[in-house]
């Protein structure tokens, strides 16, 4: 029951933090201007954070994961369809893992 309470508290904390990031842009622009350097740094964050999330899985798990990652990126770049890219990625990783266990 205690962990449940902590989970709820964590979720409320996440909600508060997220809303602060949303409203602070509006609020700050009434009071100050961000330097272009700060803006540039913030602009890189979404990409670099996502790269950091996937890098260990893509580059240091195995050939199946690396191959499936390549397939996902190629499909997404060609079609811009997140759902299709995801299905292909999952399908390729499933197939390659199956292949690996049979070859072993």
């Amino acid at each position: 029951m205690q962990t449940n309470f902590l989970a709820l508290l964590t979720i409320f904390g996440m909600a508060l933090v997220t809303y602060l990031t949303r409203m602070s842009g509006l609020w700050l622009m009434r009071h100050m201007t961000l330097s272009t350097r700060m803006k540039a740094g913030l602009g890189y964050l979404p990409g670099t954070v996502i790269v950091a999330i996937v890098a260990p899985t893509v580059f240091s798990t195995g050939l199946s994961e690396a191959g499936a990652a390549l397939a996902t990126v190629l499909v997404m770049a060609r079609t811009r369809n997140v759902l299709l890219a995801m299905i292909v990625g999952v399908g390729v990783v499933w197939g390659l893992r199956l292949l690996q266990t049979h070859l072993r």
Partner: protein, 242 residues
């Protein structure tokens, strides 16, 4: 992202900006196709949330109160007992820092309206409807309720699909057997393709990848996400100064 900001004039033109039901409905209509992909993403989040042992109530509350897909997805990877609350909140902050930029870019259109309208609308700010709204303004449309209308549609799609996905998760056992554990990585790789702006991203991304792989090897938990992300963006920021 910076392309959008620089291509849109920083100030609304002389024509006054409106905020009414008509603008909200236009936003809602334009968000419908986007809501489909948000819904697909939400289903995946729900299934993964089940694996991370979140209850249906927790998924409902998280999606309804936080309403931030990528932050929620990343937090799932941190969600193990005992909860690393500080790391979760710090990660949430870092992943959502881009909201600050998007809020700043959209702020001129809200300067005329009451704090209630502005600060309620901004709760529904997401990458997708921000891009839709900035596009609408760039076309010369002047209705700030577009953000709220499109945001509400995405909100319903997100909360609904994540809860349904969580319920489906009870049926799908051992997702690794079907490669479903890779869905998480695949979703992020897809998002990454959309985030790519050009060659200037290459060095920050390579640095982020190297630092993340190294940190994942040597450090416990998920600190590699923060370290990789920060290292990459600092490299981008330093290079920007040259």
């Amino acid at each position: 992202m910076s392309n959008h900001i620089s291509s849109v004039s920083p100030q609304p033109s002389e024509e006054p900006v409106a905020f009414d039901l008509k603008g909200g409905m236009t936003g809602a209509r334009q968000a419908l196709p986007v809501a489909l992909s948000v819904g697909a993403y939400g289903l995946v989040f729900g299934v993964l949330a089940q694996q991370a042992r979140l209850s249906i109530l927790e998924v409902l509350l998280m999606s309804g109160l936080v309403f931030a897909g990528s932050a929620q997805l990343i937090v799932l990877s941190l969600w193990s007992m005992p909860l690393p609350i500080a790391a979760i909140l710090l990660t949430t902050l870092i992943v959502n820092l881009r909201n600050l930029l998007m809020g700043a870019a959209i702020s001129p259109w809200f300067s005329r309206f009451s704090p209630l309208k502005a600060y309620t609308s901004i709760f529904f700010l997401a990458d997708e409807n921000w891009a839709l709204t900035m596009g609408e303004f760039a076309k010369g449309k002047r209705n700030a309720a577009f953000l709220l209308g499109s945001g509400l549609v995405l909100y319903v799609a997100w909360v609904g699909s994540t809860v349904i996905g969580r319920a489906l998760g009870d049926v799908v056992h051992d997702p690794a057997r079907f490669g479903l554990d890779f869905a998480f990585t695949a979703v992020f790789l897809s998002l990454l393709v959309g985030v790519w702006k050009g060659k200037s991203d290459l060095l920050p991304w390579v640095v982020a990848a190297i630092v993340a792989v190294g940190a994942a090897h040597f450090l416990p938990g998920k600190w590699y996400i923060l370290l990789g992300g920060l290292a990459g963006s600092v490299v981008g920021m330093v290079r920007h100064a040259d």
